[in-house]
């Protein structure tokens, strides 16, 4: 009897060991960092991880927690991670500054950045913003607003905007910057009704700057394009799974939020996830397959950056974009 137990225990431990060894053999290690703390904005990656999709594609992935203190560009540059998400505008600037990074998937197809104003303060059209106080975020967040003001020939009083929308809520500014999937909903959940607000989506004003994309270093991509593309393929599968099973995806996201000690609000995350679906899979136009970066989008962003003097020369699209979507489909 005792012998039997010992024997079976031995066999069990041995099989575990053998399994691990086999897994070690086939899986490639990789590190990934999203550009911000865990939230539904990155649901696809957390879901793909939790559902074992990365493993399915042969990747033993480690997701590092993002956030203000862990800038994803820096992590990628220093080789701390293999893959990172960042805005297209950020990536083009970095490339033109000499950092050899490659876009392997443009996840968000439509810009979520927007300006919001209260109708009660008489703002209904872009022209109404003239001479108003506008809350603007720094760095890459101000590229579109600046282009917007230029387009409509607006003179505005820029007030640097912090992470909160409280200044706007208390009428400290007339117009606030917002991400559609985040601050806009925060404003709604501070008691304002959608019909009390005027919204200016930049993508509706010829300023569609697709945001989150997946980037890797050129050398990583060239060394093992299969790994990069497996990561893209797995991530997109994760996104599609998250969109089809939103409640499960939400629970996964909330788990990571709580792990990262980030205040979590399920209603807010649900809003964010469904907006991500609108941004990743826009239904209104004939789009290239999910994750594709189009030359048109690339040129729009690059031209604006050049016009603003943020880049001197537009990088070569072919070397900037490692066409993983096409690769994987082969």
């Amino acid at each position: 009897m005792l012998m039997n137990i010992i024997l079976s225990l031995f066999l069990f431990v041995a099989s575990l060991f053998l399994n691990c060894a086999r897994a070690e053999e086939t899986l490639k290690n990789a590190f990934f960092i999203p550009q911000w703390s865990p939230q539904a904005q990155f649901a696809g990656y957390y879901v793909a991880y939790e559902k074992g999709i990365y493993k399915k594609y042969g990747i033993n992935l480690n997701i590092l927690p993002g956030g203000p203190s862990s800038p994803s560009v820096e992590f990628l540059e220093k080789g701390k991670v293999d893959f990172a998400t960042m805005w297209l505008s950020t990536a083009i600037q970095k490339r033109s500054q000499g950092l050899k990074l490659v876009n392997i998937a443009q996840i968000i197809q439509r810009s979520a950045l927007m300006l919001i104003a209260k109708k009660a303060r008489g703002i209904n059209r872009p022209e109404d913003i003239d001479n108003k106080k506008v809350g603007i975020w720094g760095e890459d967040f101000k590229i579109q607003p600046t282009a917007f003001f230029r387009k409509y020939k607006l003179k505005v009083k820029v007030i640097p905007q912090s992470y909160s929308v409280n200044l706007f809520l208390r009428d400290g500014v007339d117009v606030a910057s917002a991400m559609w999937y985040n601050e806009y909903h925060t404003i709604l959940n501070a008691g304002l009704k959608p019909d009390e607000l005027t919204t200016f989506f930049f993508h509706e004003h010829g300023l569609n700057f697709p945001e989150d994309g997946i980037y890797t270093l050129e050398k990583t991509y060239k060394m093992d394009p299969a790994l990069s593309c497996a990561f893209v393929k797995a991530s997109i599968e994760g996104w599609l799974y998250a969109f089809s099973q939103p409640e499960e995806a939400l629970d996964i996201v909330l788990k990571y939020m709580s792990k990262a000690n980030v205040p979590a609000n399920k209603v807010h995350q649900r809003w964010m996830l469904s907006r991500m679906k609108d941004l990743v899979l826009p239904v209104d136009k004939d789009r290239a397959p999910v994750g594709t970066l189009t030359l048109e989008d690339f040129m729009r962003v690059s031209n604006t950056l050049r016009d603003d003097g943020l880049i001197k020369k537009i990088p070569d699209f072919k070397s900037f974009y490692g066409e993983c979507v096409g690769y994987v489909e082969k």
Partner: protein, 643 residues
């Protein structure tokens, strides 16, 4: 269908039903009024509780506000160096128990021309006061606490946040301060004090209403600041809860709350899912809102419990009432059923049946008495009736016998003298009752003389019958050979007058026919005149002198008169029962009609004539009962014709 039910059923049904209706009405009204009263009290109570808590919070916040406001006043109106400023902040943090930290943050280059940022901060992470320069950690210029009062140009309570190390909710009051530069008031910076909201949390969590009622506080953005559910605190706004619950009503309440309104609204508790009343009121200094929930079922718990007892008592009472009604109904219906059964027996003739005993003196008792009395009376009456019937039957049978005897003494055989064919005689009598006062008689006085009599005694019935018998006997006794009819009647009169105390009398027609000659000598003592029917000729009444009735005056004189019948002539005699027979219209048969009828049947045999007249009288008085005896007699002379 109700008609067929018993009294007990109806009584129970109607009493219970009407009592139940009355009970329900009283109960409903009582419930309504007491509920309204309680709700009113609770509402007042709610106002008091919420207002008290609000005042406490307001007092605490205002006390905190004073500190930075005073510093702002000082900074605007005095000059100071760095050391004094740092000392001032230190003192504020040291001296004010409720203040966790304080800072004075300047606009770029506003404090020193040489440094862009200046924001000294003292705080109490533990019992020691520590110092840091905020600008070393983050760009304070873009913080809410700096930007909002700066842009709004007025002091502000900042949205609550978790303090360092988490757990404790804090808020900050930041006050902009200015300095006059070239006569213009220029913004210089912000004074901020950080306070823990523990004290507020204690005030709110000390609000206990009934069993599960509670209070909660929301910030100006609708963020839940204190709530019995820890998970909601700082994580949810009242609007995100509304979104999660898909509750537009809650969203509207939330908007009113953050817009500084107050009110009492129905609200479904987030913790217990119970329906509550929620009373909300703004905290004026910070623009936050305090709400207190009153569970509706607990508010009316006392009356709900009372009502359960009242309903139980009501139902129990109705049950008792039904039993009582059944009992009373039984006490009425049982004797009634007994009496009904007894009445059936009585109806069937059993008068000896015992009635069920009733001891009560109520209507049922009286009915029972009356029933008993009725039974006794019926018994008595039936006994008397039986006796009366028996005696009547006896009298009737006696009268029948008397009738037979009376009829027996009258000659009934016709023709009476078959060997004499020189005359014919026929008579009939139809008494009005069993016995009557009419009679007829005929007999031979001697071989050639036939005496015939028709008479009518005054009155009817037995006295008349007796008087008639007497008269007939007397006439037959007095009529002897050789006596004339007046002598016979006179003698009869004398005898009848003796001892006739009742003054009864009799009309008599007495004739003596000479069978050879056809001469009739007769005396008419007050009787109807007979009709002389000539065989070849007319018919006429034989009017006499009109002599007195017999039996009244002892010395009355009677005479004899004479008529001569030719062969074939007849004399028709009758009593007043014939002429005075009445029809339905009270018309008399009359002498004229008699004469007319005889004319019609003249020529027939005398038997036929009498049958004919009798038939006419019966026909005439068909609708009226016979009131008098009817007697008729015909004497026909044939002479030697018959031989």
């Amino acid at each position: 269908m109700l008609k067929n039910r018993g009294i007990a059923f109806k009584l129970v049904l109607f009493f219970t039903l009407s009592s139940a209706i009355i009970f329900t009405l009283i109960f409903g009204y009582n419930y309504y009024v007491s509920r309204k009263t309680i709700e009113k009290n609770v509402e007042e109570n709610a106002r008091t509780i919420v207002t008290n808590a609000m005042n406490k919070i307001e007092t605490a916040l205002r006390a905190t506000q004073k500190v930075p406001e005073n510093i702002a006043y000082f900074l605007e109106n005095s000059s100071y160096n760095e050391k004094e400023l740092v000392q001032l902040i230190y003192t504020v943090v040291e001296k004010n128990q409720e203040i966790y930290g304080a800072a004075i943050a300047f606009e770029p280059y506003a404090f020193k021309k040489t440094s862009q940022y200046f924001a000294p901060y003292f705080y109490k992470p533990n019992q020691w006061i520590e110092f840091k320069s905020i600008d070393k950690y983050y760009n304070y210029l873009y913080s809410d606490w700096y930007q909002i009062p700066k842009e709004l140009k007025r002091p502000q309570w900042i949205e609550p946040y978790f303090g360092e190390g988490g757990g404790i909710i804090m808020s900050s009051y930041s006050v902009p301060f200015y300095k006059k530069v070239d006569g213009k008031r220029q913004f210089k910076g912000i004074i901020i004090v950080d306070v823990s909201l523990e004290q507020l949390r204690n005030i709110v969590s000390s609000i206990k209403v009934l069993r599960t009622g509670y209070g909660f506080l929301i910030s100006k953005n609708g963020t839940i600041v204190t709530h019995p559910l820890k998970d909601l605190i700082m994580n949810e706004t009242i609007f995100s809860i509304a979104e999660a619950r898909n509750d537009t009503h809650l969203r509207e309440i939330g908007r009113k709350m953050i817009h500084g309104e107050s009110g009492l609204v129905p609200f479904k508790s987030i913790t217990t899912e119970k329906m509550c009343w929620m009373y909300y009121i703004p905290i004026p200094s910070s623009g936050w809102s305090l709400a207190v929930l009153f569970p509706q079922d607990e508010m009316i718990e006392d009356i709900t419990n009372l009502n359960k007892i009242v309903i139980f008592l009501g139902i129990f009472g109705l049950f008792l009432l039904s039993i009582a009604v059944v009992f009373i109904a039984r006490s009425i219906t049982e004797p009634l059923r007994g009496m009904a059964k007894a009445a059936e027996h009585i109806g069937a003739g059993n008068l000896d049946i015992e009635l069920p005993p009733v001891k009560t003196r109520d209507e049922v008792g009286k009915l029972s008495e009356a029933f008993n009395y009725m039974k006794a009376s019926l018994k008595e009456y039936i006994k008397e009736l039986t006796e009366a019937t028996a005696s009547k039957e006896r009298i009737e049978s006696e009268l029948k016998i008397a009738h037979d005897i009376q009829m027996g003494i009258l000659p009934k055989r016709f023709p009476p003298f078959p060997d004499r064919d020189e005359f014919d005689i026929y008579a009939t009598i139809k008494p009005a009752r069993e016995v009557g006062g009419d009679f007829y008689d005929f007999f031979f006085i001697d071989d050639g003389h036939l005496c015939f009599v028709i008479a009518d005694v005054s009155g009817k019935g037995v006295p008349a019958a007796l008087f008639m018998t007497l008269t007939k006997t007397l006439i037959k006794a007095k009529a002897t050979s050789g006596l004339t009819s007046d002598k016979i009647i006179s003698r009869v009169n004398e005898d009848l007058c003796i001892g006739n105390d009742l003054n009864m009398f009799v009309t008599v027609f007495c004739g003596i026919l000479n069978t050879r000659t056809g001469e009739i000598l007769y005396t008419n003592g007050g009787h109807n005149p007979p009709l002389l029917i000539r065989d070849k000729g007319d018919i006429a009444f034989v009017e006499g002198k009109g002599e007195l009735v017999v039996g009244v005056m002892e010395d009355a004189k009677y005479t004899t008169e004479s008529i001569i019948l030719q062969p074939g002539d007849s004399l028709f005699l009758y009593t007043d029962g014939v002429t005075e027979a009445m029809n339905g219209k009270s018309e008399l048969f009359s002498e004229e009609r008699l004469k007319k009828e005889i004319l019609k049947c003249r020529g027939e045999s005398i038997l036929k004539v009498i049958e004919c007249i009798m038939g006419e009288i019966v026909q005439f008085s068909l609708e009226a009962p016979q009131s008098d005896d009817i007697t008729m007699m015909i004497v026909q002379f044939r002479g030697n014709k018959g031989r």
